[in-house]
């Protein structure tokens, strides 16, 4: 058995806060390895120790293996939790941890490279009962061969950079005329983001649901499944709303869980992982396996009543988790909305700036995963997700209503957020019916939201407050609003 006493967190934002809190509850010390740009964040204030490992660009800090390892060693950390994104699925990094006698909280470097390369992943899955999507993953990467294979697979075809993920390095060619541009663009993103121009092709399933199974490999070699999540509400292949359980039939559910477990077992998988599937009608296909904690892990935690981060730490510590597969029963329904700092009326253009005020309306079954608070500044250095809002209730309709109410009470001043967009999506009949596919947003929300004209009552309130709150005229306790009743 290992004895982890101090964990270095190689991440930022809300996930760093999530990990630090889990450590604090377990009595484990924390050291946050942060960039110069991240001193004004909750994680920075919350961690027992902090070490600045480099400048704002990710190549100088969060993606820099040497600097992360040096930081962890300088702090005397026994283990590193990589969170998600950044180095979380980097086999070279996991190996560097091993070489430096630091426990990497995650699977082995071998498992990461196996699933990180989508070609070897697919080859492994082919040895199990789990179905895969038709595609091309050959060594011959010439444009001529790729174009020929695209014709053979049949359009639409998805062109992916072999090292890609999170919507990066991924292009869809809807017909032969778009194929050359898709190859060029995916290659460029692949080189920029992962330093590799290797591509693979796959049949693009145009009307499928994104269903993913949370799996967990315990230190004894036992693989659990923690039911599934649905992440069909995606835009440009980035998830926006996730839920658990998924909107699929009970029969399909059983089959998918079994397939997911068989893939993880075959790879002798350790720790938390997610097997992603595309589901079209009653068919399902292996998409990829993510060898890390997922952004959307809270919906699983809410429905299953478990703690994935603590379980990850236990697995890394050679301790068995508390579960018994037969006792793992889902309760109710959970939904997560990703709060992006962006202008929904300008088609999602990132919004940056200082948070003047924010309010997270806590209540039963309302969970907020937040990395920033009042006074903190959101910059363009990192992605625009500033928080995750998760709700849990007894049924899906109730969870949807709870989410709508929660979002309406959520306030962020100083930055525009996608809350108006999320509210529209949550009330769309296709989402409410649970029948949405990954095409849902593209089909129903292709353009920027249109700003509604303010109602007469809204205009009245706005003009009254404008007078009261105008610069230079605002005086504490001097509000002369005719409708004024009380001040807090």
């Amino acid at each position: 058995m290992n004895n982890i006493e101090k964990i270095a967190i190689a991440n930022r934002g809300e996930v760093a806060v999530r990990i630090i809190r889990a450590c604090q509850e377990l009595g484990i010390a924390t050291v946050l390895l942060h960039s110069e740009a991240d001193e004004n964040t909750i994680a920075y204030r919350l961690s027992d120790e902090v070490i600045c490992i480099g400048g704002a660009p990710i190549a100088n800090s969060y993606m820099n293996i040497e600097k992360v390892i040096d930081g962890a060693k300088a702090a005397g950390a026994d283990a590193i939790h990589p969170g998600f994104g950044f180095l979380s699925e980097n086999a070279e990094f996991a190996q560097a941890c091993v070489d430096n006698k630091i426990i990497f909280i995650g699977p082995t470097p071998e498992a990461i490279s196996l699933f990180g390369d989508k070609i070897s992943a697919k080859n492994l899955v082919k040895t199990t009962e789990c179905p895969v999507i038709p595609g091309y993953n050959g060594e011959d990467q010439s444009e001529e061969t790729l174009l020929k294979e695209m014709d053979k697979i049949g359009y639409p075809v998805m062109v992916k950079a072999a090292g890609g993920g999170g919507g990066r390095g991924l292009k869809v060619a809807h017909n032969a005329s778009e194929s050359k541009m898709a190859i060029e663009s995916a290659r460029r993103e692949g080189i920029n983001a992962f330093g590799s121009d290797r591509l693979f092709l796959e049949k693009y399933l145009g009307n499928s649901k994104h269903i993913e199974v949370q799996v967990f490999g315990d230190c004894t070699g036992k693989v659990f499944h923690l039911f599934e999540r649905e992440c069909s509400v995606q835009r440009r292949h980035q998830k926006v709303i996730e839920e658990s359980l998924g909107n699929i039939s009970a029969g399909l559910r059983d089959k998918i869980h079994k397939s997911a477990v068989s893939v993880a077992e075959k790879a002798k998988y350790l720790g938390a992982g997610t097997v992603e599937f595309l589901v079209e009608d009653d068919n399902y296909y292996f998409l990829e396996m993510n060898t890390r904690l997922q952004v959307e892990h809270p919906v699983t935690e809410m429905v299953m009543g478990i703690d994935l981060v603590k379980s990850q730490i236990m697995a890394a510590n050679d301790q068995s988790v508390f579960w018994n597969q037969n006792d793992l029963t889902p309760h109710g329904h959970a939904i997560e909305c990703r709060l992006y700092a962006e202008d929904p009326y300008l088609g999602g253009v990132p919004s940056v700036g200082k948070i003047g005020f924010c309010q997270w309306p806590y209540g039963p079954g309302r969970r907020f995963e937040v990395g920033f608070e009042e006074g903190d500044t959101i910059t363009t250095n990192y992605d625009s997700m500033i928080a995750k809002i998760i709700v849990h209730d007894e049924s899906r309709p109730r969870a949807i209503k709870k989410m709508i109410q929660t979002l309406k009470e959520t306030i962020v001043f100083g930055l525009k957020t996608n809350i108006p967009y999320l509210l529209e999506v949550l009330q769309h009949e296709e989402f409410v019916s649970g029948e949405m596919t990954t095409q849902f947003l593209e089909k129903n929300f292709p353009k920027a939201l249109e700003k509604e004209e303010e109602s007469e009552k809204e205009k009245l309130i706005i003009s009254a407050l404008k007078k009261q709150m105008s610069v230079n005229t605002i005086q504490e306790g001097e509000l002369k609003n005719p409708w004024y009743e009380e001040t807090k």
Binding site: R188, V352, Y382, E409, M469, S470, N481, W483, Y484
Partner: protein, 127 residues
């Protein structure tokens, strides 16, 4: 931040209000409103989506990845002009109508600011 309870025709409305720079941020009835307080004192040029597009400006702060056009190129509506990247995503900027490239005002790998003019287009020229 001020938290007020207004009474409008017998209905209670809770309002959160904060002045940030020249803007008034309000939240009530589940919505956030942003009001420009400098209005009236100075005219703000607003490049709304309704106006005729005359050039390509950066829709967000970010980095230019690849420029697909050069000076004097004749473009058809929808032709790709350049690709930029911000906050981990790639965005393609396309010609809003048939036009000719008057001037390219940025270079590959440039860091550009929000609303920065990137390419000057001429919609009058015959292509």
């Amino acid at each position: 931040m001020k938290n007020l309870i207004l009474n409008i025709d017998g209905e209670r409305v809770q309002v959160w209000a904060q002045v940030l720079g020249q803007e008034l941020w309000l939240h009530f009835n589940g919505k956030t409103f942003i009001q420009d307080l400098s209005e009236g004192s100075k005219r703000r040029s607003k490049s709304g989506s309704g106006g005729a597009a005359t050039d390509i400006v950066a829709p967000m702060p970010g980095k230019i990845l690849s420029i697909k056009v050069k000076k004097s190129d004749a473009l058809k509506k929808g032709d790709l002009i350049l690709v930029m990247e911000a906050m981990k995503m790639e965005y393609s900027l396309k010609a809003p109508a048939d036009c000719v490239v008057k001037e390219v005002l940025c270079n590959d790998s440039d860091q550009v600011n929000l609303k920065q003019k990137l390419v000057d287009l001429d919609f009058e020229a015959q292509s």
